[in-house]
Amino acid sequence: MDQSELHAVEAHCTQEAMPRCRAVCPLQMDVRAFMEHIAAGRARDARKLLERHLPLPAILIAVCDHPCENACLRRDLGGALAVGALERHVLATTPPQTRLIPRPPRQQRLAVLGAGLAGLVVAWELSRKGFPVDVLHEGDARDALRRSYPDIPETALDAEWTDFGKTPVTFLSSQYDAALIGRLRQEYAAVFVDMDAAATLLPLQRDDVDAATLHVEGNVCCGGWTDETPTGARLASASRQAGEGRTAAITLFRLMTGASLAASREQENDRRVLHTPLDGVASVARVLPAAAEYDADEAAREAGRCLRCECLQCVRECAFLERHKEFPRTYARKIYNNAAIVKGTHTANALALGCALCGQCTEICPEGFSMADLCLHARQDMVERGYMPQSAHEFALEDMAQASGPESAVSRPDPATGRCARLFFPGCQLAAARGPQVLRVWRFLRERLDGGVGIMLSCCGVPAFWAGNTPLFDEHAARLRADWESLGKPELIVACASCLDALARALPDARLRSLWEYLDDLLPEAAPVADAPVVSIQDPCGARHQEGWRAAVRSLVRKCGLRGEDPRRSGTETACCGYGGLVWNAQPDMADVMAARRASDLPHTALCSCIMCRDRLARQGKESLHLLDLLPMTAETSAAGAASRAPVAGLSARRAGRVALRRDVLAEYGETPPPPEAAALHLIIADEVLARMEDRFILRQDVQEAVEGIERTGQKFLEKESGHFVGSWRPRHVTFWVEYAISDVGCVIYDAWCHRMWLPGAMQPGKEI
């Protein structure tokens, strides 16, 4: 990703765009922060903000037409915030907060022709930068303002004129004549013509000059036009005139300092819309002052009605986005900077690795921001350039290898006919957790479909894809392709939504259809059941864009005599259970938060069509069913209640489950592979010990291997009182430690832990240093 791509990505997130009030203010007054200060009783900060944003604050606040109020999102929810009245309140009740710092005088002098609001803003802005400014006016210096703003209080005029006295501004009464501009152009470094007070001298309309600079030609700028109402009346918009004064002041400054007039001024005119969700926002009526103006308490209450407009729609839904405390726009920059680090810590690795790549944010975001793309590309870059943390996805990729290796994988045509019009692809997690159901549903498909239904037990490769390991994914895809082609390129019947996605990438020329669509075709419509039990349908994130999948699931639920209810955020907006993107491996605690949060979205028993959704929700204590628990050919028990509380197969059991399913599948072909060798030591592991081990990604098989190895070498420690042994084993780049005792019935495991560091003395006696 380069800078311009980053900007393109960032642009999709509007969270840093201005609230509507600020976006329509020609002076970009930070109304939201102003409101926040007042609501919190921080009047001084509020005043500071006014002074920072508004030129001639006393005058402007008295006459401003407040376009912010028209734009305010509160408008239809109790009435727009009383921005003008609150500004007046702060100005009247809080002393000035910024001191005027005299600047060293500059050489170039500026002429302002006409003491209208725009002209005075130019004088105000540039005199504060040290430029001597001569304001040429007809009649009294304050007449132009009094003419355009008849209600302007004299006190406001006095206040600002006092301030003018402290800056290098000189008011010169003069006669406007046709040659005046020409003379001033010679005498002064730059000239500003106020199009309200001195319009007669320059026959230009707004549309005649570039709105971004208000540059006329040479060293002349103009601005501050009046508007014409539909009835032809002349009307001065104070905000617009002041805004033009500021725009012109910037141009004039650049003119006098020799800078480019137009470069890098995008921000001045940045009017991107900040999307602000209003659902659930209650209407609150505007607070009216008891007297003519607000007192502090009324002001605080009125300001408290501000919605603090912001987007964060994706952040509110996604636990991962929320965890990192910011929002996609800043995440994009962090991930971009992370990639640029050569020496030092990659502080945003955790960001790139915590996303489930589920795509929910893209659906929710009004601008379609894709955090998944961002994080996936980051991972691909991490793998390619060698800074992917070793441990992040190691377990998941080993699991993928086991699921696709000789002990679990098989790829065969229909056992009865040897034909293979279709190929059942259950997916490695369903195979791991639900072998007997996989077998039964395959038999059902074979009975009911013509042309032969083969089976392929393997991982689809999605873990490699999620890990950003493109070479591994491609290599895996090539192996899938070889098997698929040798079976005659059958149509694939797929039981996992993530597999569907991965297979579409691996075998783009294959016809793919979900198992549920097949079963829905094959199963008869059932009579509607009165008082059907209700389940909450959990759409897997992989089925976000699989409409056929989602419709078939709902239809099957109905055919099974249940009433499926869509929870909040379902269908295309569904949320991930934490399995997606390998978060369960890289950041198990993050994945658990995702699962818990999703579980809390579902009011009834969860009905899942993805085994990982089912198991991850069930692990959170949520009653959850897999669709196979309901279907007539696969239901294990007639009591859905029992199935919804059925325990979740752990990581060790899943591996064993794959091996067992392969044996069962081969049996359909009349083959019986030799039984696995009996273990040298019989392990006894209590459920809670195994669960703790598996939380650390230590499998029963790892412990088996470790204890056997330790017992062979005799290198172990003994705790005298308990008789427990501890020893270590390092089969690859992880050292496993096991605490155990040997008894007549076998080897009792008390605990196991692991680390990746290498200690020479831990495995075989080493030298002291």
Binding site: N349, F717, H755, R756, L759, G761, Q764, P765, I769
Partner: protein
């Protein structure tokens, strides 16, 4: 980066099962990703077999491993 220097066994009275010697805190080295650390660990004074207590493996060691992996 450093690891707190001294880690005893988590609990109990530990001996080298082969030599029968009681373990003593001795300085050993641990390696990870081109970094080396000195650390005091329970070790058999006779054969040198060294124990990594669980609290170290899951505490400081895991922390340092994660830091190094993000380098």
């Amino acid at each position: 980066m450093s690891m707190e220097p001294n880690y005893g066994p988590d609990a109990g009275d530990w001996f080298c099962a082969r030599c029968g010697e009681r373990l003593e805190q001795r300085k050993v080295q641990a390696f990870y990703m081109n970094s080396a650390f000195d650390v005091l660990l329970p070790r058999c004074p006779s054969c040198g077999l060294t124990l990594v207590p669980k609290s170290l493996a899951e505490g400081k060691m895991a922390e340092v491993e994660a830091l190094l992996e993000d380098k």
